[in-house]
């Protein structure tokens, strides 16, 4: 298979094609009604999404799991004056994010088949533009390109929520947009600062990811603030507690396919950003005890908090949204533990969450289409009338619970076992998440499927063939990843190991870095009289913060003026 692929030069054009195809498709969808009035736009969109998926499937075989560095690289000049290039590449970390995206897209299109009835053209156009944005974020190797694509995926999502959403769609859309945009602007500033500082020190002004990673140590005293900017952007996207409140609103109001993409793909951008950018750029800040003392507890709080709040939600979509907060907490814990198992596990959870939560949202959408309500209490006892739906919902819920034999277990287990060596207490608390996950999903399951059948639900139709087509690939993945995840782990392993080694070596290798000793320590808040209003965020004392800031002279020449 891989010989065949290299025979057609697959590795040279695949990423270009993946990036451009959806844009062409979006154009086709936009112009379709004029050019080919007989063909429904949704069919064009489905065709494009399927083609995208077929093209991307080649990555599975063509990917060389023994190489840690980037593969399938393509690079073209874009704005040479500024050192901006169109540079794409894939490694073991991004491979599955790309596959997850291309895998989800056809299902998302298929799930909108009857759900979206008005303004189909713009809807599918936006969906396809969103695809390019999402893929681009995962494969971009140029910070400028990354930022642009990050925004590119933001705008279609804003419109998808705002134009096709539920009753409070404008509130949700604006909240989503402002939240994300706030973070991404900070990230832009951080990228620019890195660009200038690194450019000044090395003499090469470029946005190239490889160059910046290699020379990231030059940011010196800026590291903490740059890390904070990146981390905030990604933490909002993840979303980490306490930046999560946009998620329930956005999820609830978004139309089904947008919810699926939001949960399945967009949230992964945050965790992917941590893995790809925040940690490799600023390892000694990220793994500094004080930062760890903030991030890891927040991750654990997210796990438990999300689960507890999910438990009492009357709205099924909101329940799933809070469960996402809980799941992504595991990912954050795994990333910060930074062992091979935990990072692999984190990536597997990212995949799993895309599949399981995606499936849950699909099913929430199907419930909504049937009853026009998302209230859990409106259902009950429907297992009798919709056995196929009930079976799949149970399976998906169990996968979300993390039952061994389903995909959910593999990721959670690897994360927890990998993290336990680093943070035993935090991991022990995180493990209680398995109890709460069972709690909220089984409670919901019981209220929806079991008990007395409400007369309103007696005529409820079971899954249609189209819906089965949407759900069955997800079900197959749930079982497949649950029982035989080795091929996936195999493909992730080398890159994850390289990442862990690289970050860890920089932390131990650089002893002269002054930042860690000056960072605020959670324990001695009272030292500076900082009566911060608390809530987990350590109130940094006046003196420690100012010592974190670059000295005035270094504002002009941050690296100490060696030039």
């Amino acid at each position: 298979m891989s010989a065949l692929l290299s025979g057609i030069g697959y590795e040279r054009w695949v990423l270009d094609v993946l990036m451009i195809l959806p844009l062409v498709g979006a154009l086709g969808v936009a112009l379709g009604p004029q050019l080919w009035p007989a063909v429904a736009v949704k069919k064009i969109a489905l065709g494009v999404a399927l083609a995208e998926f077929v093209v991307s499937m080649g990555l599975w075989w063509a990917f060389d799991p023994t190489i840690a560095s980037m593969q399938f690289e393509v690079q073209h000049d874009w704005i040479p004056e500024w050192g901006v290039t169109y540079h794409l590449g894939i490694d073991g970390i991004s491979l599955f994010m790309v596959l997850l995206t291309t895998f989800t897209m056809p299902l998302a299109v298929l799930s909108s088949w009857n759900y979206i009835t008005e303004r189909e053209g713009p809807f599918y156009s936006l969906l396809l533009v969103l695809t390019t944005g999402m893929l681009g974020v995962f494969v971009a190797l140029d910070m400028f390109l990354f930022y642009v694509l990050w925004e590119v995926m933001l705008i279609p999502m804003y419109f998808l929520i705002g134009a096709w959403g539920g009753a409070r769609r404008m509130y949700a859309a604006i909240k989503f947009f402002v939240y994300t945009f706030l973070g991404s602007l900070l990230m832009l500033v951080a990228i620019l600062v890195m660009y200038y500082v690194v450019g000044r020190e090395t003499g090469v002004y470029t946005f190239s990811y490889a160059h910046l990673v290699e020379n990231a140590q030059y940011v010196g005293p800026w590291a903490f603030w740059l890390f904070a900017a990146f981390a905030l952007a990604f933490a909002i996207k993840v979303p980490m507690f306490p930046f999560h409140t946009w998620l329930p609103d956005a999820h609830v109001e978004a139309p089904t396919p947008a919810s699926v993409l939001l949960a399945g793909i967009l949230l992964k951008m945050g965790t992917y950003g941590f893995l790809r950018f925040a940690l490799p750029f600023f390892p000694e800040v990220a793994l500094h005890p004080a930062v760890v003392a903030i991030v890891v507890p927040l991750a654990v709080v997210g796990i438990i908090y999300g689960a507890l709040v999910a438990m009492v939600q009357p709205d099924f979509k909101k329940l799933i949204a809070y469960s996402s907060v809980s799941h992504l907490g595991f990912v954050m814990l795994g990333i910060w533990a930074l062992t091979l198992q935990s990072v692999q596990g984190a990536i597997v959870i990212m995949i799993n969450h895309g599949i399981s939560t995606g499936a849950l949202f699909f099913m929430a959408g199907m419930m909504y289409e049937r009853r026009h309500t998302r209230e859990i209490s409106a259902f009950g006892g429907i297992a009798r009338v919709v056995p196929a739906f009930a079976t799949i919902l149970t399976l998906v819920a169990l996968s979300s619970i993390g039952l061994p034999g389903t995909n959910g277990f593999v990721g959670e287990f690897l994360v927890l076992i990998g993290s336990f060596g680093e943070y035993p207490i935090a991991t022990a608390f995180a493990t209680t998440g398995v109890i709460f996950a069972a709690l909220y999903l089984l409670v919901a399951l019981q209220k929806i499927l079991f008990g007395k059948l409400h007369p309103d639900n007696e005529k409820m139709p079971d899954l249609s063939v189209r819906e089965l087509f949407v759900l069955s690939p997800l079900v197959v993945c749930i079982v497949w990843i649950g029982v035989y995840p080795a091929p996936i782990l195999h493909r992730i392993e080398t890159s994850a190991q390289a990442l862990v080694t690289q970050v860890r070596s920089q932390v131990s290798g650089q002893t002269q870095v002054s930042v860690p000793t000056q960072l605020p320590v959670v324990g001695n808040v009272e030292e500076g009289g900082g009566s911060g209003e608390g809530g987990g965020v350590p109130a940094a004392t006046e003196t420690t913060v100012s010592s974190l800031l670059p000295p005035p002279s270094s504002l002009v020449s941050p690296a100490g003026g060696s030039d």
Partner: protein
């Protein structure tokens, strides 16, 4: 190893194929009951036969090392290499025989019991799936594979307890079982992480091999590991404090109660401790905790069983109590005795449940004929059934005798061995005398409540009502036949491990030696003189007789009235009937506060109030206010604009002035 042992994968695969086939049928041919029962029972019988081949191959094997078959690499991640591996050794062989053997009998019984059910294929699909997971549990060669089975049986238990899900209570009971199990699984997970951290592996063979070097005897690490493992066992095997799900689990079909909640799944905790005997042997403190918990549970549950009216609830508490005995045994390092009681208990408790199932079946049919809405499981509605159900009565008496400890029946030997070990250990530490005493009292109560059950159900005056009496019949042969087979097992089961003072003693103990010998070096030899052993046996006989006789004399079954006319209970009786109000305690002090915290505090106050309200929307409000201030300048009046414009121009100009 002989090649026959390598057939082990087939044992696991067959029930799974049965699950797939029956699952398929439940959607597409729901009425093909003959086909479904053929498949459902067929795969189990086939699995049992293959098990026999495998075990005979194992018995013939010269070397003692376990046979490990890796099907495929499951979770490879750096040095963590977890394969989907099956391990056959003497311990898992015993479990295999119990699971497939008793399982097959219960499947056969189910054909009759579930005959009129609407979703018959679904029932058999779940039952097959359960057996599949149970086999995976006992065959797993490492902790994660064991965990698949561990959680899988929990899932099937959930699905089967809530099998009649239209009743809200049944679905709740399933949920409760699953969540309580999950609390235990939390412990198991933590234990796994700690084991991996200490030994760098999760494969049984490697962990046990490196345990002597990785752990300090009675050190904090090993103690914590074993205590967390025990938390898992407590959840799965319904010990104090996580036992409350098991009585509720009786909401499931009675064969399910027999298979899952008596014979197999709930004994998984005992199996796990027996499996990790090396670790427990190195942690005597944890062992004592296990034994004490077991003893306490044995007595506690027995007291509750005294006063239950629901026939299945009595048996459920009896199960909890008997599981307590098993934990007593394995906690004291008497692994063979624990497994022995597990096996005999599987026989007599499965028999008791199926017998009660037979009664319920009969009563249910009678009620169905007369359109009676009474509770078919309440003993107050039974009485004098021995005339209508002679076979059931007979086998039930055998099982009762076995569990009560009638001499030379299976339960007599197995329970006696446990108490003997406790007594012998008492010479080292007084706490074991306490354990022995608890066990002995529980044995007395066991004999009492079982006799009570038999008297109320099968003897005395009939309370079913005259019309129903016309319709009461013995169950069909397909249900009674398994009962008879089990009765044989319950009667003669003790022969596999006779006490030392009898000829041909210690069969099971010898058989299990390869699996438990590694722990032997950490455990003190148990010395008990032959005279003392005979004495204890005699005492056990006296206790059993006292229990039976006491029940016979003290209880007056003729004065009972049907449940609908029964007066309210008072005093200690009410406390026992309401199970010491433990469910209510949990509800008041754990469930409700958690829900309140989540709903009122976390969601409404923290999420909606603080984060969203104060921080997020507060920020938005500030922005809005600034915007509002800005709009005050936008009067729409050109004059104002001009003035502002001039002021602005002036300001800019003045900036250029030096």
């Amino acid at each position: 190893m002989p090649s026959t042992v390598s057939l082990i994968w087939l044992v696991v695969l067959l029930p799974f194929l049965g699950f797939l086939a029956n699952g398929w049928l439940s959607f597409f041919r729901p009425d093909a009951k003959r086909l479904v029962s053929g498949i459902g029972v067929g795969v189990l019988v086939a699995s049992f036969l293959v098990t026999l081949i495998v075990v005979s191959g194992l018995a013939g094997a010269a070397e003692g090392a376990p046979y490990i078959q890796t099907l495929w690499s499951w979770m490879p991640s750096g040095e963590l290499q977890i394969g989907l591996s099956l391990q056959v050794d003497q311990l898992s062989a015993v479990m295999l025989l119990v699971v497939t053997g008793v399982g097959a009998l219960i499947h056969v019984f189910s054909i009759g019991y579930m005959r009129d059910d609407d979703s018959y294929p679904r029932y058999f699909a779940f039952l097959n799936l359960f057996v599949f997971f149970m086999l995976l549990l006992v065959l797993g060669a490492n902790f994660p594979v064991l965990f698949i089975g561990w959680e899988g049986v929990g899932l099937c238990s959930y699905l089967l307890i809530g099998y009649w899900y239209s009743e809200e209570a049944n679905a709740s009971a399933g949920k409760k079982a699953f969540i309580m199990n999950r609390i235990g699984d939390f412990g198991l997970l933590i234990a796994m992480f700690m084991i991996y951290r200490s030994t760098g592996s999760l494969n049984f063979v490697e962990v046990f091999a490196s345990a002597p070097s990785a752990f300090v005897i009675n050190g904090p690490t090993i103690t914590l590991i074993t205590l967390f493992l025990f938390l898992g066992c407590v959840g799965k095997s319904a010990q104090i404090p996580l036992y409350t799900w098991l009585p509720d689990a009786m909401a499931g079909p009675t064969p399910v109660s027999a298979l899952i909640h008596a014979a197999t799944m709930v004994t998984a905790g005992v199996y796990l401790i027996a499996r990790t005997n090396v670790l427990y042997a190195m942690a005597p403190f944890s062992g004592a905790v296990v034994a004490l918990t077991g003893a306490a549970t044995a007595l506690f549950a027995a007291t509750i069983a005294l006063k239950q009216w629901d026939i299945k609830k009595v048996l459920a508490y009896s199960t909890i109590s008997q599981l307590g005995y098993m934990f007593m045994a394995v906690g004291m390092g008497a692994y063979a005795a624990g497994v022995f009681h597990l096996v005999t208990h599987a026989f007599f408790k499965a028999l008791l449940f199926l017998g009660s199932g037979s009664v319920i079946y009969g009563l249910h049919h009678a009620y169905h004929q007369t359109h009676n809405e009474d509770d078919a499981q309440d003993m107050r509605n039974m009485g004098g059934l021995s005339r209508m159900m002679p076979w059931t009565t007979g086998v039930m008496w055998i099982a009762t005798a076995a569990i009560a400890g009638a001499p030379f029946l299976s339960g007599f030997f197995s329970k006696d061995q446990i108490l003997a070990v406790a007594f012998a250990r008492g010479q080292d530490a007084t706490v074991f005398y306490v354990i022995w005493a608890l066990g002995a009292v529980a044995a007395l109560l066991t004999a009492f409540y079982m006799t009570r059950l038999m008297l109320y159900t099968f003897h005395g005056l009939n309370r079913t009502g005259a019309e129903e009496l016309q319709h009461l019949r013995e169950a069909p042969w397909i249900m009674t036949a398994p009962l008879v087979v089990l009765a044989v097992g319950a009667f003669f089961g003790g022969l596999i491990n006779l006490p030392h003072v009898l000829p041909g003693a210690g069969g099971l103990e010898h058989w299990l030696e390869p699996a438990t010998e590694a722990s032997a070096q950490y455990l003190a030899e148990v010395h008990l003189s032959a005279g003392l052993e005979w004495g204890l046996m005699g005492l056990a006989t006296v206790i059993a007789a006292a229990g039976v006789f006491g029940a016979w004399r003290l209880l007056d079954s003729d004065s009972l009235v049907p449940a609908s006319e029964a007066p309210e209970e008072t005093g200690i009786q009410k406390i026992l009937l309401r199970k010491y109000y433990v469910d209510e305690l949990y509800d008041t002090y754990i469930v409700r506060p958690t829900a309140w915290l989540s709903q009122r505090v976390l969601w409404r106050i923290v999420d909606d109030g603080v984060i969203d309200g104060a921080a997020v929307n507060g920020l938005a409000k500030v922005t809005q206010f600034l915007g509002w201030v800005g709009t005050r300048f936008q009067t729409g009046n050109l004059g104002t604009y001009v003035i502002l414009f001039v002021v602005g121009a002036l300001w800019l100009l003045s900036a250029t002035l030096r």
